[in-house]
């Protein structure tokens, strides 16, 4: 079975400082990994995805994530946080030949002015 663990339920950063959201995955097969963002009263938006190509994946809005197989991690980073980054972030895994997405519990990001 596929699963993800988001290591921080809440992250608070100052505007302009780096953001790090940590995610470890468990998968019996080579997985596809995703990060989604959910703003209040909005649908889930795909930030980026890893599908066995480059291990460093660049996404929208300046976010990127690095797939580390040896550490079974897929941490999300952004060099400089913006107030609009305040939202809920989900790390998601999908088995390569499957359709079902398995979500982590989420990390709430707050950005201080």
């Amino acid at each position: 079975a596929q699963s993800v663990t988001q290591l921080d339920s809440h992250v608070s950063v100052s505007e302009g400082t780096p953001v790090l959201l940590r995610c470890n995955y468990s998968s019996s097969y080579s997985p596809s990994l995703f990060w989604y963002v959910q703003h209040p009263n909005k649908g889930l938006q795909l930030l980026l995805k890893y599908t066995s190509a480059a291990t460093l994946v660049k996404g929208i809005n300046g976010f990127e994530a690095e797939f580390k197989k040896s550490e079974t991690s897929f941490h999300l980073t952004k060099p400089s946080a913006h107030m609009s980054d305040a939202a809920e972030y989900f790390c998601v895994v999908r088995k390569v030949d499957d359709y079902k997405l398995s979500f982590g519990a989420g990390t709430t990001v707050t950005v201080r002015a």
């Binding site: 649908g43 889930l44 795909l46 989900f90 359709y99 989420g106």
Partner: protein
């Protein structure tokens, strides 16, 4: 272009009642999936439909059912509502039911169901 649309946006029901939630996929998308997101948790997979057939089901009781129509829109039905069914119900659409590159899921804004 219209994204995935869901109706209603909010709904309040009482225990034991029945509810129907609706989803219209992105134009041209033939696969619809449903997810339940309880407050404070990540979404949980309920169903996937492709070409009007159920292609997958999550760990949910038989009180949950769904169907997909010829125009690829979908309904999620929940019978005998329980307090624990209170959640945000998300619909996602994909181009097809396969797994090839680019066939990602696009989510709607969800329907917030409150069971009293």
């Amino acid at each position: 272009d219209a994204g995935v649309t869901q109706s209603p946006t909010h709904l309040i029901k009482t225990r034991g009642q029945h509810v129907t939630l609706r989803c219209s996929p992105i134009s041209g998308h033939k696969s619809v999936s449903w997810y339940q997101q309880v407050l404070g948790q990540g979404p949980q997979f309920i169903f996937q439909y492709y070409e009007k057939e159920e292609r997958g089901r999550g760990n949910f009781p038989d009180r949950f059912s769904a169907r997909q129509f010829p125009n690829y829109s979908s309904e999620l039905n929940v019978n005998a509502l329980l307090l624990g069914d209170s959640a945000l119900y998300l619909c996602a659409s994909r181009l097809t039911g396969g797994h090839r590159e680019g066939n990602e899921q696009f989510f709607g804004p969800g329907t917030r169901l409150t069971v009293l």
